[in-house]
Each structure stands twice: as structure tokens, then as C-alpha cells.
Amino acid sequence: MSSSETGIHPTFEKTARSFLDNSQLRSNLGHATRTIRDKRRGVVDEMPDWEELREAGRQIKQKVMQNLDHYLLQLETSVTRAGGVVHWARDAAEANRIILDLIKERGETEAVKVKSLTTDEIGLNKALAKEDIMALETDLAELIVQMAGDEPSHILVPAIHKNRSEIRDLFRDKLGKPDLTDNPAELTEAARRYLRKKFLSAKIGISGSNFAVAETGTVAVVESEGNGRMCTTLPQTLITVLGIEKIIPAWQDLEVFMQLLPRSSTAERMNPYNTFWTGTTEGDGPQEFHLVLLDNGRTQVLADPAGRETLHCIRCSACLNVCPVYERTGGHAYHSVYPGPIGAILTPQLRGLSDKSAASLPYASTLCGACYEVCPVKINIPEILVHLRGRVVRHNKNWGGIRGKVNPELMGMKWLAWTLRSRSRYERAQKMARKGQRWFMHDDVISKLPGMLSGWTAMRDLRPVAEQTFREWWRTRS
């Protein structure tokens, strides 16, 4: 269980409603997701072997998950051989404690940090702040989010919910530059100047990682702005947090993911910068390298063979940009650092189904399947969503006390199953429905159902049960 991620959040259904009313958010998001989606299609279409790459990516990840213990031990050996130090963390608190101690032992109070979902997941910044250590976000969007005291809303472009004038106002205030305009180039320049001083003097760098190669101990960071290079190159000490599922077996496997990731993520042939480092190198970059291997619920995901594939995710965010639900609600409605379709399957598995907010996420989908189609490692998200919905129902039945057992939906489904099992019962039910529906029909459709059933007709009309079924007609014929 993660620490920052726990706490009581409302369900997706509740929050989504309020976000749908925010037209600024919807217009920002609509523009953004459409732009990346179209660009992605362009760069994927120029790859004649895209499907072969996806399949290879899927197979590599499957192999990793089936042998995760082996590859982790291999990674530990190879990183240690290359001059790094490996730490193991069962959960968020343990990971944060390890990092905190490393920084304190070096007598430092500040660290520069590369955008990393994993460190957001464990709430590292807050944990460090509690002991007066400032972790400065250096990715432009993360800096904006951090300055605003806000939460990221997209995996790749975390400040997508903010427009340029909001950012200008924020920078005018926080960077003390009252003359800034809302020109993105000027805003970027202001951030560059502010951060450059920090980079050149930083003693500690903190990063996540996209991939770690078990065989060689090589760790990779993929980025655009150069803040990743700064953080992994300039400080004396580098601390990297790695979710245990990010491991890949061999150096050669990078050739697959370094083709899949940039095109799926930023929709570029290659993103501006990739850094691959293997332990430490004398006279080049950090002389101390610490790698923190993080479980934090991942082994729990691994234990469900039908949900395990979720761990194949390489965090590209392609599924967010094609999702009709995400496009309308935005990332905050998911109450997790992992929003969108992948979040809808990852969050409930990481946090467990007793978390009501997390357990509502598998329902945040129309099951249209667009996410599966774009996924670079072929995670069958719709199938896992359905699987998790089943788990949520069973969980509530077993652990939800009396309310879980007499849940109207569950009872309704039970009644339906019983009815559908016998022809006579089914036909009797049809007859009853035909009588009952008269009270709700307007212009030949059912436009408003009462009570619990009203949810179904809130957005759509329901066709009534026919006056005569095919069977009935057949009987009158003979």
C-alpha cells in the first residue's frame, strides 16, 4: 500500500461529474489529446514493423514477469559490479526512509529531481519536506504543478489542465517577474534561468527510470527538456527509484522499447534526449549511484494471473490520449498518479479493492477498446477492466458486510440469471414488463425509469419490450 496514495478519496463517478462542468479543462484537454493522437498516428504509420515490435515488447515483458525474482537478483549483481548500491523497499514508507537517510547522511537539504511517476506514487516530495529537505521538480510542467501546489493531471504533460495565462500569473508571482508575458518561449526561458543555478550547484539528484537492464546494470531515462540529463549527470550523488516491473532482461531489448516508447508517448521518432548509465564512471557524472527497487503493491498485481499484464506498462500515456472518458474528465478525476485507462486497471490493483475510490475506477470506461489498440506492449486493458469489475463485485460481496450481500445490483443480477435460465420464467417476465412499462413510456420509448434504474435512462432512451415477440408470433402462425 502506498502512503501518499491512501487517504479517503471520492469515487470516480462523483468527481467526474464536477470536472465535466469545467469547460476550460475540457477544451484544454480536447485540444491536447487530439493533437498528440494525430501526431502519434503519423509516426506509427511510417513503421512497417510496428506490430512485430509490439509483439516483441509484449513477449519481453511477459518473460520478465514470469522470472521477476531472477532478473531482480541479476540486476542487483550487475549494478553493484558497476559501482552502484542497490536498496530494496517493500513499500512507500520504506523507500522514502532510504532516500531520506541517504540525503541526510550527506548533510544536504536540497535535491534536484526529474519528473517521475514512481516518486509521485510514493509521495517522496512530501516525505522529504516533512524533514526539511526540498526536492525541486525540474521538468517544466512539474515545476508549474509544484509551484501551484497542484497535482499532475496527465502522465506525459502534467500541467495540461493549465493554460498559458494561468502559468504566466503563477511565474509572475513565484519567480518575482512581474513583466512576463504569456508567450510559451518566454515562460520557458524564465524557468530555464531559475533552474540552471540549481542544477549547477546541486549535490543530490533524484530520478525515476524508464528501463533497467538486468544483464548489464544499465539504467535509462528518456526525456525532452534536458533536465533529466542535468539531474543524472551534474550532482555528486544520484538516487534512482525503480518500480520492480521496469526491469528488462538484456541490452538488446532496449532496441524494441526505444522504438515503441517515443512514438507512443510524445509521438516523435525519437525524443530529444535519452541517457543510459551503467553504475558510476570515473570522472564522468555522479560518483555515487543508489538504486532503490520498489515493490509497493506490485507483487500484489503479479499474484493475479489475469491482471498481471498491467505490469507490462511502459508509461507512454498513449491510452490516455485515445480514451473518450479521460478526454472529458481529465486526470484529476482518477485520484491517482496513474490516470486514464492504465490507471483504471493499475490503481485498484496496487491499492487493493477495499479502497472505494480505487475500486470505482474499473467502471470509468466505455470498454470501447481504443486503449488496447494503441498500447505499445499490447496490454488488453478492456479485458482486465471487466476482470476487475468482477473482482470488485466479489470483493464487496465477501467483505462488504450485510450491505455488500444485499447490494441491489448484485441481487438484480442474481434474479436476472435465475430468470434467464428458464424459458417459461423468461416469457413470464416479458409479459410482466410489457404491462409495467406502460407507466414509463412516452412517444414509444422509455425515457425515464424510477429509482436505481434511473441511471440507465439519464442519458439515453430505452426501447420497450416488443408488443409481440418472435416466438409469440410463431405460435399464432401455426
Binding site: 518473460k63 517544466l140 522504438q259 534526449y273
Partner: protein, 232 residues
């Protein structure tokens, strides 16, 4: 190193959780009967492992893709390098040029160019000196036509990573024979380097960039804001 009891407990616990999670599972991978067997299985690598075979076309593709990243490209013969470097520097008002160890001295402009060379040997340049420089001139390990990528591996003529990171302008010399076709080829070429030396590797595809504000692309954030590729 003495085993830290807390650390080894966490390690044991995680490994134990993994084994419990996978324990009774069928591997579900062909006819293999144990988990260990699946490790020796080959991944189906049906994707391309080699790209364009004609050098001329490879170079052409590389140029096109680099230019799409808003980097500048010059194609010249090697003898003209000193003059070209001098011209680029004077056009971009470069006075202090960082020179990594092992760079071919024949590439450097003469004293008439008025350039000051900042050398990273015998003493390393400080971050501050690098920050006050105007540009860096390097070679590279390889370039990739498919993606317009320059690959550095801290080899001779490239220097340590900070040299190509802190200066605001990077002039990179790529030899035509260094341009490979597609991404898998460069990983193949890098493999011995990684295995033997564990050298740090950097991929550069255009100047640094961000699209964080309303998805408007802005070239030049923290890495060099300008990139000039000289192909010889």
C-alpha cells in the same frame, strides 16, 4: 559491505512475495514446464534489424530528420572543417569553444579565428566555466538515419557528459560512415561498449525541447538550445 539487516529483510520479503505470486502458475508459454525454462526462450524478433543499405540515402534521410528537429545541418568535405567551424562560430558569436579530449586537432580553426579553446584536460573544466562558454565542438559514436539521432558514448572527441550538456550551443561532427540505418543497429554496435566499459551513453535528437505549455513546442530548455550537425 556488511549486510544491513533491514535491507536484507526487505529483499527477502520482496523475493518471497514474487515467488508466492508466481508459485503454482503454469508458465503458459508454449510447452515449457518450469519458469526457469522460459528464460532461455527466444523472443520472436520479427521486426527489422537493418535499415537502408545505401550510404547516400542513409545520410539523406538523417539530414532530413535532423532538420525536422530544428537543428542546422552542413555537409562538407573534411578538409573544410576548420573553416566551417570558424564560420559557424562567427555567425553565432561564439568566442569560447569547449574542446573535449581526443578531438582531432585538424578540425580546429587557426588563431586567425579569434576563438579561445577551453580544454577539459589536464584539469577538468568547472561547471561554471562550462556555463560561461559559448559552444562545444564534438564528434560522435554513431548517428541514426531513421530517427535523426546522434549517439555519444563518452569516447575520444566527445568528452564527459557535462561538456555536451551545459554549453548552450553544440556543434557535432558526424562522419558519413557513422550514419547507421535504424535503431536496432546502433544498439547492436553499442553492446560491446556497454559490456566492457559500461560507458555512459547519450542519445541526442535535436535541441532540447518542451511542449508543456498548451503543447506549443519550444526549442531550448535545459540542454543546449541550438544544435548544428556538420556531416563530413
Amino acid at each position: 559491505m556488511v549486510e544491513d539487516p533491514v535491507m536484507s529483510t526487505a529483499k527477502e520479503a520482496i523475493l518471497q512475495r514474487i515467488r508466492a505470486a508466481l508459485g503454482d502458475d503454469q508458465p503458459g508459454w508454449g510447452t515449457q514446464s518450469t519458469r526457469e525454462d522460459t528464460r532461455s526462450l527466444n523472443i520472436e524478433r520479427g521486426y527489422r534489424t537493418h535499415g537502408e543499405t545505401k550510404k547516400q540515402q542513409r545520410v539523406g534521410l538523417f539530414v532530413r530528420h535532423v532538420e525536422e528537429y530544428k537543428a542546422r545541418v552542413s555537409q562538407i568535405s573534411e578538409q573544410k572543417l576548420p573553416q566551417t567551424v570558424a564560420d559557424i562560430c562567427s555567425a553565432e558569436k561564439v568566442k569560447k569553444l569547449v574542446i573535449p579530449p581526443g578531438l582531432d586537432e585538424k578540425w580546429l580553426p587557426g588563431p586567425e579565428s579569434g576563438l579561445t579553446f577551453l580544454r577539459d584536460e589536464p584539469d577538468l573544466l568547472s561547471y561554471d566555466e562550462l556555463d560561461k562558454s559559448d559552444a562545444v565542438l564534438t564528434g560522435c559514436f554513431r548517428a541514426v538515419a531513421q530517427t535523426g539521432t546522434i549517439v555519444l558514448n563518452a569516447g575520444p572527441g566527445q568528452g564527459r557528459r557535462a561538456l555536451t550538456l551545459i554549453p548552450d550551443f553544440h556543434i557535432c561532427v558526424v562522419r558519413r560512415e557513422q550514419v547507421t540505418g535504424i535503431v536496432p543497429e546502433v544498439f547492436w554496435d553499442l553492446e560491446p561498449v556497454i559490456r566492457e566499459e559500461g560507458a555512459p551513453v547519450t542519445f541526442i535528437s535535436g535541441p532540447s525541447a518542451t511542449s508543456d505549455i498548451e503543447l506549443d513546442r519550444v526549442e531550448g530548455v535545459h540542454g543546449p538550445r541550438r544544435l548544428h550537425v556538420v556531416i563530413v
